[in-house]
């Protein structure tokens, strides 16, 4: 398997931007930035209450945010397009609301250290029920595996508690989507995590992360009828 770089998947530069910004900050500086942005991570630095928030913790939060953004955009688009019916439609509506709540919480916690919101092109999978469910299963399974792999690396206990709470919610979503797609909700007695590089490789293979934005504004003399 070819090892992929972040540049290949992060065509929008959002994840790299976050990593670069994190690397420029000391832990104290980082917490200062978070406090200045009104985010809620200040309490995490209190001595004796929890382990410190590290640069690695922030990077993991941004990684989780990128997956939550992907899921949120996917379900929201599917609901707006109204091509799903019955139980699939209900599931998209409910799960979408939860993924949006996850995104909102991560963005509030990260403040200005959060990555930019990427653009997506789901290429029709949100407009066809069978393809929607297949993709939803893949997304939810990926999210579960990603949280599982990163949780042991989180230094701050409060952040770990959040991650574990979301992990079980994503596992419920995975079981729900698997049931709707017609495959076993709980197929294995033991689940393994999946490393970030592999998760990004899989996300990249979907081609759902769009390239540069459309150029819709230009410094140019009009040739309209006047």
């Amino acid at each position: 398997m070819t090892e992929l770089t972040l540049e290949e998947i992060d065509v929008d530069g959002a994840i790299r931007e976050a990593e670069d910004r994190v690397a420029q900050l000391t832990r104290r500086g980082l917490l200062g930035a978070v406090v200045a942005s009104g985010a809620g991570l200040l309490a995490l630095g209190r001595p004796g209450t929890a382990r410190a928030v590290t640069k690695n913790d922030v990077a993991i939060l941004n990684y989780a945010l990128s997956l939550e953004e992907l899921q949120s955009a996917f379900y929201t688009e599917a609901e707006r397009l109204r091509k799903l019916e019955g139980k699939a439609r209900q599931a998209a509506r409910r799960v979408g609301s939860v993924e949006r709540a996850h995104v909102a919480a991560f963005r509030k916690a990260l403040g200005r250290n959060a990555i930019r919101r990427p653009r997506y092109n789901f290429g029709g999978v949100t407009e066809d029920e069978r393809r929607f469910l297949k993709t939803a299963v893949a997304f939810e399974d990926l999210a579960v595996a990603a949280y599982k792999a990163q949780a042991p690396r989180i230094n701050n206990r409060g952040l770990l508690a959040v991650a574990v709470s979301i992990h079980s919610v994503e596992a419920r979503h995975a079981a729900w989507m698997r049931y709707l797609f017609g495959i076993r909700p709980a197929a294995e007695p033991f689940d393994s995590g999946i490393e970030m590089s592999e998760i990004l490789r899989i996300v990249r293979s979907t081609r759902f992360i769009a390239g540069p934005p459309a150029r819709t504004t230009r410094r140019s003399r009009p040739r309209f009828t006047g």
Partner: protein
């Protein structure tokens, strides 16, 4: 003893035995039967080791209550054209071509279309129904979904009222902008129908168009030989005294202050209705 007397005697003996048994049980009922009171002092109490189970850490931040989507009815979506394609009357390449789409506009911005609907064919291919920037105006057609990029949602809608000579911008159904406009003279009328905003041009040195111009998907039906195809714009002016009025070649003109007020609140892809 006759058989009848024998049966009577047996019955009497059984009755006496049953009465004796009942009396015995009633007497025993005064005392607890086989129930032993626990004696705390006599049994060791098992307690969890306090030091080994500290309280669980509190989550660093809370997840807000999920909110269901509220804007499904008040948004539109547009998409960039990624690949040149023909648009067909139906989602089938064997149906007539109703227009062609390039990837760029004459102003060299990304071409885009307003997406109205979509469907999946029996072969599994997704097609999109789009509004086209072609003559005749108000043409819609079907193109393969793979020719388009991702969807962008807008919650705005611009309405030009040719009778009242006014422009109104709605956001989520609520009026947020209103201004007088100039429209086409009778020989070059501003076309009516449904269109969309497809680009924005700025920082050009031509006072005739004012400080800023929006391009639309509407085209003049009479000035077909106009450079770049005779597309209708919405722009400022160097003759504000003519507004409101029927004074243009088909474009919608606004006073410069109004077009500058409109620019930041009307995103590209906004649907346009000319009444």
């Amino acid at each position: 003893m006759t058989p009848g007397r024998r049966r009577l005697a047996v019955a009497a003996v059984l009755l006496v035995a049953a009465a004796a048994a009942a009396a015995f049980l009633l007497l025993r009922g005064d005392e607890p039967v086989a129930v032993e009171k626990p004696v705390a002092a006599q049994k060791p109490v098992v307690r969890p080791p306090q030091a080994a189970l500290p309280s669980a850490p509190k989550p660093a931040f809370a997840i807000p209550q999920p909110k269901l989507l509220q804007d499904r009815d008040s948004v539109s979506r547009w998409s960039p054209v990624l690949r040149r394609t023909a648009a067909f009357r139906s989602p089938d390449v064997r149906t007539p071509v109703v227009g062609k789409l390039e990837t760029q506009t004459p102003e060299e911005t990304t071409n885009l279309v307003l997406v109205l609907d979509s469907t999946t064919t029996p072969s599994g291919e997704v097609w999109a129904k789009v509004r086209l920037p072609v003559l005749p105006n108000n043409t819609v057609g079907w193109i393969p979904r793979r020719a388009l990029g991702g969807y962008t949602v807008v919650a705005t809608h611009l309405v030009i009222d040719r009778a009242r000579l006014r422009a109104t911008l709605y956001s989520r159904g609520r009026s947020v902008f209103n201004a007088p406009v100039g429209i086409g003279e009778s020989q070059w009328p501003t076309p009516g129908g449904k269109f969309y905003i497809r680009n924005k041009l700025t920082q050009y040195a031509n006072p005739f168009y004012g400080p800023l111009a929006f391009g639309t998907s509407a085209r003049s039906a009479v000035l077909t030989d106009w450079p770049a195809g005779g597309f209708v714009g919405i722009h400022g002016t160097n003759q504000p005294d003519l507004i409101p009025g029927r004074i243009s070649h088909g474009c919608v003109r606004m006073r410069n202050g109004d077009i500058l007020r409109l620019a930041p609140i009307m995103p590209i892809g906004t649907p346009l209705t000319v009444l």
